[in-house]
């Protein structure tokens, strides 16, 4: 199932006021409950590295806004323990992590930097597609969790940002 198909299913649930849906195919079983969380059960190890990555957490749309568009999967979440109140920026895609636009260029951000919402934090490259990852909050970069040039997995935490 592609992310787009998942989106369409979620959209249909909202539009038709369905509260729970279980979809079973030879490859996977998917249960979606509105107002609760999405559970992907027994994702097979298909021959697609992208899909073999951890399944996206898709928050179900809230009931009071039936026409609202499906929320995008969360790539920035509350961080645990060592940095209370911090927001975790996660990799939205599998690829190679770069801190600067070019090998001889200064990094986009350093630890301790103040960043604005929308500011580019890093690049993740996959198939020569350079993806600029931006911050969805304004705050201080408390921690950079990945080394320049390292491969990253889908959903892997990249930065901890303390919102201000």
């Amino acid at each position: 199932m592609t992310p787009k198909e998942l989106k369409q299913i979620l959209q249909a649930l909202v539009e038709h006021g369905v509260n729970e849906l279980t979809l079973e195919t030879p490859d996977y079983k998917l249960t979606v409950r509105r107002g609760g969380e999405v559970q992907v059960v027994s994702v097979p190890q298909v021959q697609v590295p992208m899909l073999a990555a951890p399944p996206p957490e898709v928050p179900a749309p809230t009931p009071p806004a039936p026409a609202a568009p499906v929320e995008k999967p969360q790539v920035q979440t509350e961080a645990p323990d060592d940095c209370p109140g911090c927001v975790e920026v996660r990799a939205p895609i599998v690829g190679t992590f770069y801190r600067a636009p070019a090998p001889d260029a200064p990094p986009y951000v350093k630890e301790g930097d103040r960043v604005e919402k929308g500011q580019v934090l890093c690049i993740i490259e996959a198939m020569k597609l350079m993806n600029e990852i931006e911050s969805e909050v304004s705050g201080i970069v408390k921690k950079i969790l990945v080394e320049n040039g390292e491969p990253v997995e889908y959903g892997q935490p990249l930065f901890l940002i303390q919102p201000v």
Partner: protein, 295 residues
Amino acid sequence: MAGLLSLLTESWQSGEALARRLGVSRAAVSKEARRLLSEGYPVEVSRQGYRILPGTPLPHLFHPRGRLGRPYRYLGRVGSTQDALRAWAEEGAPEGALVLAEVQERGRGRRGRPWASRPGASLTFSLLLRPSLPLPALGLLPLLAGLALVEAVGVGGLKWPNDLLAPDGRKLAGVLLEAKAEGEEVAYALLGVGVNVAWAPEGAAFLQEFTPLSRREVLEAFLLRLEGLLPLLETPEAFLARYQKASYTLGRPVRVRTAKGVVEGLAEAVFPDGSLLLGGVGVAAAEVELLPLIE
């Protein structure tokens, strides 16, 4: 003086006629032509008068046949077409917006590597895409851009993911895609293409060694082909079958440099997410080097 560029065609026009149409002196036309030349615009001057180098995609001579390629900005000298298009995208330019420049002062490829070009002989442009698919589903887009290129020119083949190589392995064209991600949504993708049409830097090849296509013809064919291929992003198997036919990499021994080191092996397959299967390992970001076939 504005407007000389918009009056030039591929046929010679006398300085006198141009001066009359612009309401200026012949000396002013001559001065403006020199200024345009210094800006990188391929204006030709002879005893017959003035014309634009044939095959130049001047806005009034360029007619995209599909929806990609408009609105269109044709520029002389820029830093890079990617940066010019990015600024335009931030201002809200729609999908299909195209920036083409004759001179790039900081033309670049992957990881900031320089891309050399020559006014009038190279084709360097950036096309704005606003994909509705989420970021993880866009892994095939770079490959698709490469396929559009090879199908548009009908010469050579692709080195994974999307370098266009001549039959003898020299590089004809390169593609660079830069996307802005907002979470998993893609705000926009900047598709940068550099094609050596009538000139190539040392060691590389140019198209006119193989086919008489002009820069404008390459551009128009590429845009139309890309538009036709884009729906295949949603049917990876169908796309990959077609990509396979244009590949110079699959079935070949290759060496790839990834962030984790060098891997050598047979390029076995391309996965539906665009990554390359190489000796049992999936590779998503790497420099590929084709190795000689074992005799």
